[in-house]
Amino acid sequence: MGRITLDKVTKSFGEVNVIPPLDLTINDGEFVVFVGPSGCGKSTLLRLIAGLEDVTSGQIRIDGEDATDMPPAKRGLAMVFQSYALYPHMSVRKNIAFPMKMAGVPQDEQNRRIEAAAKSLNLSDYLDRRPGQLSGGQRQRVAIGRAIVREPSAFLFDEPLSNLDAALRVNMRLEISELHNALKTTMIYVTHDQVEAMTMADKIVVLRAGNIEQVGSPLDLYHRPQNEFVAGFIGSPKMNLIRGAEAAKHGVATIGIRPEHLAASTEGGLWQGTVGVAEHLGSDTFLHVHDHGLGDEPMTVRVDGEMPVRHGDRIFLTPDESKLHRFDKQGLRV
């Protein structure tokens, strides 16, 4: 079981109010991602749930039980830290065994769980090494192993992939997703990378300055962003936001159109501009279009496959009207 409820939780550091009153329910077995720019309070929120920080007011309930004043160890949660936080003077085996040793699990049971975790994480060959002798990806796995053996009611991940390189990050992302499919345990995952959030989450919580901007499934957020901030934050490349006269035509303050919902043509279309940087990825082409008369920012267009245009070429863009997002003066969705 791993149902976590936050009820009017606030957190202040001295005078600074990091988290204003915040309500959130995380259901058993869900993979929830907290995402937001740096300094948005997402890590603080995770640490409140873990018990590493005390809430200023409000209540945290785990499986219906009030856990607000429980020490971290009693909450039945396991955390994977950004720095992995392995114990450098212990072997991998002892690192993984440490939480069980503290909990007084019998030796036989400890060995059984270590073997099982090591097998599922491909760590069996490294059990007697020190963390210092392992690569970044292996350390990450040890940290996950140390969390698994506790058989927690929920896993907490604090930007676990930020110290890995691009290729390894994609692999570990898949491994964690597969782990969730296999264990079906509640997982709470903090990241600043919206791609990680979109690919891994059942439910995304978008945070800005301690406030929840939107809660929903990845596709909810992609199709119906509640405000301009979420619209600009979710999706890669970023949504094009257009203000002024063009938006007024639609009767709103701002309209947004995603790069993949713009049709590009060299013959004709609704808007025109000149090609700036053209990024040819083979599978797609991203065009950055300047001088379109719709604002100062270049517009980004995604074209499937290839498009034989070069720097300085004239290009026409036509938005898919059905995929247009409309926002009012306060930046809220209309």
Binding site: A50, L52, P71, P72, A73, L77, A78, M79, F81, Q82, S83, A85, L86, Y87, P88, H89, F98, P99, M102, A103, R146, R150
Partner: protein, 212 residues
């Protein structure tokens, strides 16, 4: 004598570490004695605190109705150990404090999540982390304690008898007070060799530290 001082100093410093985290002013006060010159400190202790007639301890003792105790005469070794410890404690504290602060906070938090209480955290996480720093402190102190000279000269002059004589003072006595230059030089060479054996261990430690 050396062992008692260093081990005692190390343990005391470890205990002292805990409350001082990040408190700048307290830290300066703690570290100040380290910068007081050995001769001065010995004199101050001798005359101001331990003097059986006018010393502060004597006054204290009288205040409680006890017999004033001539520390340097009755327990010369103990007194010297006390003075030297007082001087070297800040050094150990400084090094161990720096080492403690280099400990990754996330490791402690991970251990807390893993269910380790304060005592377990100290023994399983902090002590192994400090192991190297403790060794360095012990080695450096050993070298310097070999040459505690000023204190002995000023406070007890090596006496009574040779109860508080150490190697350096022995050399001094041999070669200058008894004009036995040969014996003194021999002692000097022995001392240099001794110091360098310890120094080699120390250099290896520091070398490892620089690599890590």
């Amino acid at each position: 004598m050396l062992l008692i001082t260093t081990v005692g100093g190390t343990l005391l410093a470890l205990l002292m570490d805990q409350p001082f985290w990040g408190q700048g002013i307290v830290r300066i006060l703690v570290i100040a004695p380290f910068f007081v010159m050995p001769t001065v400190s010995a004199l101050v202790w001798k005359n101001m605190f331990m003097n059986p007639v006018n010393g502060l301890f004597a006054h204290l003792a009288k205040f409680f109705g006890l017999q004033p105790y001539d520390f340097l005469a009755q327990a010369p070794l103990g007194s010297i150990i006390f003075i030297v410890s007082w001087q070297w404690l800040p050094f150990a504290t400084l090094i161990l404090l720096t080492a403690l602060q280099s400990l990754d906070q996330e490791q402690l938090e991970a251990a807390e999540m893993d269910g380790a209480g304060p005592l377990s955290r100290f023994f399983y996480i902090m002590l192994p982390h400090l192991a190297r720093a403790i060794t360095v402190v012990i080695l450096i102190q050993t070298i310097f304690l070999l040459s505690v000279f000023a204190e002995i000269l000023v406070t007890t002059n090596g006496g009574p008898g040779v109860a508080s004589t150490n190697l350096t003072y022995l050399i001094y006595m041999q070669s200058l007070l008894q004009f036995d230059v040969g014996g003194g030089s021999a002692g000097g060479v022995v001392a240099i060799i001794l110091a360098n054996i310890v120094a080699i261990f120390l250099m290896r430690m520091i070398g490892k530290n620089l690599e890590a």
